[in-house]
Each structure stands twice: as structure tokens, then as C-alpha cells.
């Protein structure tokens, strides 16, 4: 079969381009340490969230020096707790689940962005620095009131932070 020389050159360049893309993505995922959402959050009976001590009372908990866990329920059409308050300069792991349909969990303007699937727990770790307020929105269609589903993530100065603050519903 007769392959034109230009075609051969183009083929080689294309392969190089593809391998280049794969390497940058793999580099981004491993070396730079951007964490992926994966299967480590575990599963849960979505009809019985109130029997689970993390989600029966959605809240933020301290689990170590500058380390916090936030248990969040996304349901039609609210996030609980709201607002979610965490102290500045800490590492926060979100555990998000849903008792009804699929939702999205997007902290606006950041790359904290994941799907929430009933029966599964989405685990997502972020570093927060400066005190600041972020919007949270649901970016997966979840029913007629989807566009009203929002929340807030408030990063407060360390000395003003108190556990339990975020439980006001």
C-alpha cells in the first residue's frame, strides 16, 4: 500500500502529540498531586441516611491538627449544612452523599467539583488558605428546583472558628 511521505510525517507528529497529552495529564495527576475523586468514599444506604452517624447530622468535625472533615448531604434542593464553615489554613475532606437523585457539588471558582450519586459517598479533599466566602452550587440537573440549589462555604480566620457553628439550619 502506498503511503505518501507527507502522510507518514503527519502520522508521526500526531502520535507524538497524543503521547505528549497523555504524559502531561499523567504528570498532573501524579507528580503535582491533584487528587482525583475515586472509589474510596464507600457506599451507603441512601434511604437510611439518618441511621448513619455522619449524615444523620451533617456537620464539620476536627480530625487532626489543621485537618477537618465535612459531612454534607445534597438533597432536592438544598445542601446541608449551610453554610459550611471551616478555619483558614486547613485541609478539609468533604464526604457528600444524596438521599434522592444525582447532584453536583461545585465550589464556584475552584476545581472542587464532583458528582454526588445516591448510594455512593463522594470523597474530596481540598486545602483552604485565606478567609473567604465561596458559593456552592449543584451543577447536575436534579429536578424542577435545580436552579435554586445553592450553598456557601465560609473560610473563617482560625481564631474565630468554632465547631458546631455550621449546624445552624
Amino acid at each position: 500500500m502506498n503511503i505518501h511521505n507527507y502522510e507518514k510525517i503527519w502520522l508521526v507528529l500526531s502520535m507524538l502529540l497524543i503521547i505528549g497529552f497523555i504524559s502531561t495529564v499523567v504528570y498532573g495527576a501524579t507528580a503535582v498531586g491533584i487528587e482525583m475523586v475515586n472509589d474510596e468514599g464507600g457506599t451507603i444506604d441512601s434511604t437510611a441516611l439518618d441511621e448513619d452517624d455522619r449524615f444523620s447530622e451533617p456537620r464539620v468535625e476536627k480530625v487532626g491538627e489543621d485537618e477537618y472533615e465535612a459531612y454534607v448531604v445534597a438533597r432536592q434542593f438544598i445542601f446541608e449544612p449551610n453554610p459550611i464553615e471551616v478555619p483558614a489554613n486547613s485541609t478539609v475532606t468533604f464526604y457528600v452523599t444524596s438521599p434522592d437523585v444525582l447532584h453536583g457539588f461545585e465550589v464556584v471558582g475552584t476545581n472542587a467539583n464532583a458528582m454526588v450519586v445516591p448510594g455512593e459517598i463522594t470523597e474530596l479533599t481540598v486545602e483552604v488558605n485565606e478567609p473567604k466566602e465561596y458559593g456552592i452550587l449543584c451543577n447536575e440537573y436534579c429536578g424542577g428546583g435545580h436552579h435554586t440549589m445553592e450553598g456557601k462555604l465560609i473560610v473563617v480566620p482560625e481564631d474565630e472558628f468554632e465547631l458546631g457553628d455550621s449546624n445552624d439550619e
Binding site: E7, S14, T43, T47, V101, M115, E120, N139, H147, E150
Partner: protein, 590 residues
């Protein structure tokens, strides 16, 4: 442009009148879906940007479901089966084996579409409990009326039978021509349909084994991650199912229209074989940010996806080379000067070239999507519709419309009603999509979500790093309006063509490739082999993730109850809607 017409040769209609009737029917079904879809698209573009809100925001999702289904299921796939019937009959140069069989699968596809559309539009009618506001992705445990799932199933069965029709023609032809190579268009049709058989395994299982019986109440729980994964098993390759008709036209029709010949037939075959092999084992790339799927599976999907760039890059080369050859045949010279020798006044040519240009831009934004960590930023933002309106919404849609300007006379023995309107139409589409898609991409970078009736929130504002959100909204709305106008021009032009006089001898034979298939290895045509490898690759890519999902959540879900999507009574919203309309009109007229 009489060179285009009046070649003295017979048209497709002259040679195969019965088949031409089926092709016309399929294309009309496609255009009706396109026109309706464009109405809904316009409503969305005006509503979500808050330029004009004619409907209640809960009804936005009924509109969006209709837009998605009509555009990417009905418009594209009806066109595909029409085009493939034409290409099969034309390239094997024989009529279908049974025209009744051909009408049967077409009828099934129409019936399936009507069922699904009735279920969706039922969402507007409060007196019924029929509704399917589940968007075209119908993720469980949102539940649609059984009519919706049943319609989808019947539609897909229709496409399977259509594929069998093409295979039937091929086998009948092969029995009479045992030593001949499969003609190029026939080859493209067959590989695409084989890919479709592999891809639809996912959706068939999701709909027939789970969603349909569940919507009928046979069981009341479901594993949402399982049906979602099965959806994307189909949901990515379907993208190539939309794209392959456009590729077929770029490879086999565009060179002729440009006045030249296809650069290489064997390379075209290689490209289609690559799509058959690689399209399906990549669907998990739509689930990069899903829980319940291990990182390793996501990385494999990402790697496969990147290799899918190869056939498209090869296509870019071949198409440009063939068009350049055409230009030089027409007397074009110089490094880029040949561009001027091309038939730019021909809407079929210009439309396809503009579509190809947008595809290049879409390819770029797609590579960003495909990188896993960048995906975090744009996942489920309006960036994503910005991307696929360039690919399926333009590379495919505009190519199909442009090609219709060439194909329609071959099917009707009548000229196009107006070529200048056709030319204006493709240019308006290009400009409109440039605006709409650009605004969507930029808004996506600010985190503005897709699938959202009112992307305005009480607790926070989006921070626009350049431009302003309201400027971009306006740009999106203007773009959407231009697209709507373009669609209406297209459909009207085709409809009015029925009133032009009947002609004879306006057939346009397609040119032969520069390098023909004769000197390429026979193995290329071994479709059984490629189909077998494709199946193996799918098993490799999906066996473990699916097993793990079932192991975690069970076949029928970890305690997830159905959530029927019944929209609240619309009657209550009609009055305020009229009020809003009056207010909107009032605010436009100062």
C-alpha cells in the same frame, strides 16, 4: 454554477426511485426534528441568559429534554440512516433486497421517536401524568414515563434493523462479486454500524433490563451508578455515530464538490477501522469526577481517549490534501493561493469547510475536557455545551445541512430553491455558533453551570475574569437567535425546492480516489476480525469497572427509590408567563 448540475448523468432518483423515497422520508424526519429542536434551543438561549423568559423555569427542563433528544437522537440519527441508505445503494450499485423491510425499520424509528416525544411533551400538560423531564441522559433514580424508555428501545431496534439492511445488501453483493473489494462508502457504512452494535449493548441493557421494567413498577430499586455507567458506555461512541456521516461526506463527497479527488482510499478505511476499535472503551471519561470508580479505570479511559485523536488528525490531513488537489485541478497555484480557486459560492462546499474549521476549534476544547485534572474546573459547566455545539452542533449539523444542498437534487431531480440563501444560511450558522459557543466556553470558565434555568444565585456572584457575565449572556442570546434563523432558512429552502421544475440528467457522479484500494492489504476489509477485536477491547475496558460497581451497589441499587419527574401543574404558570411576555415586549418597545 451550472458545472454542479446538468452533467447529463442519471441521478440517484433516476436509478433507484424506491430507495430515494426512503432516503427523502428519513431526511425529512431529520429536518423536522432539527426545526423543532431549534425552537427549543432558542427558548433556552433566551431563558437562561435572562434576556426573555417565556416559560416557567420548571418547564425549562422539559424544553431542555426535548432539545437534547430531538437534536442528538432524532435529527442526527434519522439523517444518518437516510444518508447510509443512499451510500449503501449507491456504492454497491444495487437496490435494497426488500423495500418493505426498509420501510419497516424506518417506521419503527418514527414510532419510537413519537413515543418518546409524546412522553417528553406530556411534561407541559398538567392534566396527564405522562412526563419525562429527565434530560437526554435520563440518569436514574429520576424516573420518566415508561413510554419514554419504550420509545427509545423501539428507536434503537429500528437502527439495528437498518444496520442489518446494509449488511444484507453487502452480503448479496459479495455473493455475486466474490473477488471485489468493498466500495469505500459501503465500507464506511458497515464499520460505523458495527461500532453501533458494540456501543448499543450498553444502552440496551440499561433500558431494557433496568429502566423500563423499573418504570413499570416491576421492581422499585435501582443502582444509579450502574445505569449511569451503562449510559456512558453508549454515550461516548454515539458521538462518533453522529460524526461518521460527516466523515463519510468529507471523504467521499467533498472532494468531488471541490473539483478534485480523495487523496487516499486505504487511509480512509484505516480511519474508520480505528473508530470501530476505539470509540467504545472510553466512555468512563465522562465519569472522571464520579464516586465509586477507581482512579485506575479513569486513567485507562483517558489514555484510550487520547488515542482517539489519531483518526481525526488523519482525517484533517486527508481532507485538506484532497481539497487542495481539487483547487489545483481548478487552476489554483501558490502556497496558499490555491484557496482562492475553490468554489466558495457553492453553499455545499462552503458549509462543509466552515464546519471543518469549527471542528478544529472543537477538537481543541475537547482535548481540554479529556485531560482529567482540567476537567475538574469545567465539569458540568456551560463550557461543555460550548464544546459539543462545535462538534456535533456544527461539525456534524452544518456538514449535514450543507451536504443536503448537494444531495437533495440527486434525490428529487429538482434544483435547490435558492443557492444564495443557502450560502447565507451556512455563514449565519458559522457566525451564530461562533458567538454562542464562545460565550459558553468563557462562562464555563467562571463556573457557570449547564442545564440550569436561572444560573443566578442569591448567596454569591460569578467572578468574571474578563468581559462581564451580562455581556456574555447577550452574546449567547444573539448567537442562539442567529442559529435559529439559520435553521429556519435551511428548512424553508429545502421545502420550497419542491416547487422548482423537474429536470433530467442532473446526476453528479463521485470522483475516484487518487490512491485506490487495490494496492492496500486485504485484511483491511476483514470486518469480522475488526468487530471481534472491538468486542475484546470493550470487555477489557468495562468488565472490571462494571463488576466493581455491581459488587459495591448490587444489581438493583443500594436502597434508592424512584423519583418520578412530574412537573407541577403548568396551568398556574401560564398567566404569569403571559404577564412576563407582555412585560418583556413592553420593555423592548420603549
Amino acid at each position: 454554477m451550472s458545472e454542479q448540475l446538468e452533467s447529463g448523468a442519471p441521478t440517484f432518483l433516476d436509478k433507484f426511485p424506491d430507495e430515494a423515497a426512503v432516503v427523502r422520508a428519513a431526511l425529512w424526519s431529520s429536518f423536522i426534528a432539527l426545526a423543532l429542536g431549534a425552537v427549543f434551543g432558542l427558548i433556552q438561549a433566551l431563558h437562561r441568559t435572562d434576556v426573555l423568559r417565556l416559560i416557567d423555569s420548571t418547564d425549562y427542563y422539559t424544553v431542555l429534554t426535548a432539545h437534547g433528544v430531538l437534536m442528538v437522537v432524532s435529527f442526527t440519527i434519522f439523517f444518518l440512516v437516510g444518508l447510509f441508505t443512499w451510500a449503501t445503494v449507491r456504492s454497491f450499485d444495487r437496490g435494497v433486497e426488500s423495500i418493505r423491510y426498509t420501510w419497516t425499520w424506518y417506521g419503527l424509528m418514527v414510532a419510537g421517536t413519537l413515543m418518546a416525544v409524546v412522553a417528553i411533551l406530556g411534561g407541559f400538560v398538567p392534566q396527564t401524568d405522562i412526563s419525562a423531564d429527565v434530560l437526554f441522559t435520563f440518569y436514574a433514580p429520576m424516573q420518566a414515563h415508561p413510554l419514554f424508555y419504550g420509545g427509545l428501545a423501539i428507536f434503537v431496534i429500528g437502527t439495528w434493523l437498518a444496520g442489518a439492511d446494509y449488511i444484507w445488501t453487502w452480503r448479496a453483493w459479495a455473493a455475486e462479486n466474490p473477488d471485489e473489494r468493498i466500495p469505500l462508502q459501503g465500507f464506511m457504512v458497515l464499520t460505523t454500524m458495527l461500532m453501533w452494535y458494540v456501543a448499543t449493548i450498553g444502552i440496551a441493557i440499561a433500558v431494557v433490563a433496568f429502566l423500563l421494567p423499573w418504570s413499570l413498577g416491576l421492581f422499585d430499586q435501582i443502582n444509579p451508578l450502574l445505569t449511569r455507567t451503562l449510559f456512558w458506555f453508549w454515550g461516548h461512541p454515539v458521538v462518533y455515530f453522529w460524526l461518521m456521516p460527516a466523515y463519510l461526506l468529507w471523504y467521499t463527497v467533498l472532494p468531488t464538490i471541490a473539483g478534485g479527488r480523495l487523496f487516499s482510499d486505504p487511509l480512509g478505511r484505516v480511519v474508520f477501522v480505528l473508530f470501530l476499535l476505539l470509540s467504545t472503551p472510553v466512555g468512563i471519561h465522562h465519569q472522571y469526577v464520579d464516586p465509586g470508580i477507581a482512579e485506575g479505570f479513569k486513567t485507562i479511559a483517558m489514555t484510550n481517549t487520547m488515542f482517539l485523536l489519531l483518526p481525526s488528525l488523519l482525517t484533517a490531513f486527508t481532507v485538506v490534501a484532497s481539497v487542495e488537489h481539487g483547487a489545483r485541478q481548478r487552476g489554483g497555484t501558490g502556497l496558499l493561493g490555491w484557496l482562492r480557486a475553490l468554489p466558495w459560492r457553492n453553499p455545499a462546499f462552503t458549509g462543509m469547510m466552515l464546519a471543518g474549521l469549527m471542528f478544529a476549534a472543537g477538537g481543541f476544547s475537547g482535548m481540554i475536557n479529556a485531560g482529567m485534572n482540567i476537567n475538574y474546573l469545567v465539569h458540568n459547566t456551560i463550557w461543555v455545551p460550548g464544546h459539543f455545539h462545535l462538534t456535533v452542533g456544527t461539525a456534524v449539523a452544518l456538514t449535514l445541512m450543507a451536504a443536503t444542498y448537494w444531495l437533495w437534487p440527486q434525490l428529487t431531480n429538482r434544483r435547490l430553491y435558492s443557492r444564495p440563501i443557502g450560502l447565507a444560511q451556512v455563514v449565519i450558522w458559522f457566525v451564530g455558533m461562533g458567538l454562542m459557543s464562545n460565550a459558553m466556553h468563557v462562562q464555563g470558565l467562571f463556573g457557570i453551570p449547564r442545564r440550569t434555568a436561572e444560573p443566578q444565585y442569591e448567596g454569591f456572584d460569578f467572578v468574571a475574569s474578563f468581559g462581564s457575565v451580562s455581556e456574555l449572556n447577550l452574546q449567547l442570546a444573539i448567537g442562539g437567535t442567529l442559529l435559529f434563523i439559520s435553521t429556519m432558512l435551511f428548512v424553508t429552502n429545502i421545502a420550497l425546492s419542491a416547487g422548482t421544475p423537474k429536470l433530467s440528467g442532473i446526476g453528479q457522479p463521485l470522483s475516484e480516489p487518487l490512491s485506490t484500494v487495490d494496492d492496500s492489504p486485504e485484511i483491511l476489509d476483514n470486518l469480522k476480525l475488526w468487530f471481534g477485536i472491538a468486542l475484546v477491547l470493550v470487555v477489557l475496558a468495562y468488565a472490571l469497572p462494571l463488576a466493581s460497581i455491581i459488587d459495591r451497589g448490587g444489581l438493583l441499587g443500594p436502597g434508592v427509590d424512584p423519583v418520578p419527574m412530574i412537573v407541577e401543574p403548568v396551568a398556574a404558570t401560564i398567566e404569569p408567563t403571559l404577564g412576563r411576555l407582555a412585560a418583556a415586549v413592553g420593555s423592548v418597545v420603549p
